[in-house]
Amino acid sequence: MDRGGSAHQPHRILERVQENPKTVSLVLEGSLACSPGQFAMLWLPGIDEKPFSIAGNDPLMFTVSRVGTFSAALQALCPGETLWVRGPFGRGFTLAPGNTLLVGGGYGAAPLAFLAAALRTACPRAKVEAALGARTSVDLLFVRQFDALGVAVQLATEDGTRGSAGLVTEIVASRLATEEFSRVRACGPEAMLEAVAELSRGAGVDAELSFEAYMRCGVGLCGACEHRGRLMCLDGPVLMMAHDGS
């Protein structure tokens, strides 16, 4: 019953990796017991505190895309500086055997790379493939990481600068049509998730989708993150499609 305190822990930044022009990964000193798909609240004293997917847990890593004030402040951190982490929170992806298609859009690729690594250990015989989408070539993330894990990657860019031209969901449709996959795991913009949900339902595969929401407490109390009746910080951020049809 005693969870111990989950108050902010300071972590020194070991490495700052510029993944692409608007995305930076921060590799931190220390680790965090958690599962892929869970998130943590990142705090910069005097600035703000917001949720970020855990992109790796040993060492702890987060991947931040520049959107507004807070993501910019995070990206401005340098090795040796400190980032405060509260978590992990929420429900992550299930690690289940069976061939799995990972579908990532934008920085959604980060938790999926973490998931791919975890699946490699937990279910070594499962075939794991990734389909990643972005607007343009430079926006694609973690392609090398998936390669290094032996995960075949199919790419889609809206402007056709890399991989197939168009949306990642087109890849998903064709991969699911092969009937090789029994599971889909997706993280990315809401529109992409909706499309993936639809395709998974059609193909009758088990899908888990990671959603974003506006978060305050991060621990299931305040109600700020409610999304279609679910608290995304408690019931999510990963929702099982099979059960709720979203």
Binding site: R86, C222, L231
Partner: protein, 336 residues
């Protein structure tokens, strides 16, 4: 303790004539932001659910961090984010519709910065069907011009109560703060002014500091302590209040388990508020606590909650007979 549940106890209780099928009450500010979440608490074991406090105008609340688990409790400074009483009416209407078939009571919670503001909100809220109205005169997060001032003064708290009672016939609960010198005095004043019950307690003001940065952890610097660290303060407040007033008390603060609920009832509470437990025990908090409470009552041969309520004082006046199975040891007096 180890006895098998021979007969299950009647867990219902009454507050101001309203029947609660279970003594567990969802505390305001937890899950109270939508009809769906209120229904969820009701379905998982709450006997009444309290909506998030609403104010006359919408409030965005404080910046993050707003809630932190510091190891022995939580601390929060949400800053009463809410859509304002206007939108709240829709929420209450829908919640009331969903809860009625379940037999679970709905408590609206209102706050304002004047007694008149309380009365105006109460009049609006009363029309959309809640079973009770809770007057949150004790939110510690709003600065001196608001909130806290009412719960800190017997006269101010009584005025709010009287103004609200004048505009509605719905039962009114007044939610008190532990951050006063003598909570019993405030309780007496609001009951004299017409309060039908007391909710005790709101959070206790505190502060976390991050050693590394030297910063206050909450964006609002100070916040309200809830959870395990609050329990002995809440038990003391409930006991103090029960000693001076005769209205039902929703004993709230640090109840995480069935045994905690037994302690709160023993202190003199009629029902038991549950808030932070949702963090500590997860979404099943209500069903877990309800089942533990039921098992405890059955294991101790209790048929209903009256056999538990206020036990601390029965014991003191130990000549008073109780229908509880005798507790070994304590009734031997000092004669040996």
């Amino acid at each position: 303790m180890s006895g098998e549940p021979l007969q299950s106890a009647d867990m219902s209780c009454r507050i101001a004539g309203i029947r609660l099928p279970s003594p567990l009450v969802l505390a305001s500010g937890i899950w109270g932001t939508s009809p769906g979440l209120l229904e969820r608490a009701a379905r998982s074991g709450a006997g009444a659910v309290t909506a998030k406090t609403c104010t006359p105008l919408p409030r965005r609340g404080h910046r993050n961090p707003t809630v932190v688990d510091w190891g022995h409790g939580l601390i929060n400074a949400m800053g009463l984010p809410n859509p304002g009483v206007g939108e709240e009416l829709e929420l209450l209407k829908e919640a009331s519709r969903r809860l009625r078939p379940l037999g679970v009571a709905l408590i609206a919670s209102i706050s304002a910065d004047t007694a008149q503001g309380f009365a105006e909100s109460a009049a609006l809220v009363a029309r959309v069907g809640p079973d009770m109205i809770e007057l949150n005169v004790s939110c510690p997060n709003l600065g001196a011009e608001h909130g806290e001032m009412f719960a800190a003064s017997a006269a101010a708290a009584a005025e709010v109560t009287a103004r609200v009672k004048a505009v509605t016939s719905l039962p009114c609960l007044v939610k008190l703060s532990p951050n006063v010198h003598d909570i019993a005095e405030i309780a007496r004043a609001v009951v004299d002014a017409g309060a039908d019950g007391i909710t005790a307690i709101n959070t206790m003001p505190g502060m976390l500091i991050d050693a590394e940065s030297g910063a206050a952890v909450l964006a609002n610097e100070t916040g309200g302590i809830s959870g395990p660290a609050l329990k002995p303060i809440a038990l003391r407040c409930v006991h103090d209040i029960a000693s001076v007033v005769n209205v039902p008390i929703i004993g709230t603060g640090g109840v995480l388990s069935g045994v905690d609920a037994i302690e709160m009832l023993s202190a003199g509470a009629t029902a038991v508020g549950v808030g932070s437990a949702v963090f500590y025990r997860g979404e099943q908090a209500f069903s877990l606590i309800r089942d533990e409470l039921a098992a405890w009552l059955a294991g101790h041969g209790c048929r209903n909650l009256d056999q538990i309520r206020g036990r601390v004082d029965w014991r003191r006046q130990s000549a008073v007979a109780t229908s509880l199975p005798p507790v070994p040891g304590w009734d031997r007096g000092t004669s040996g």
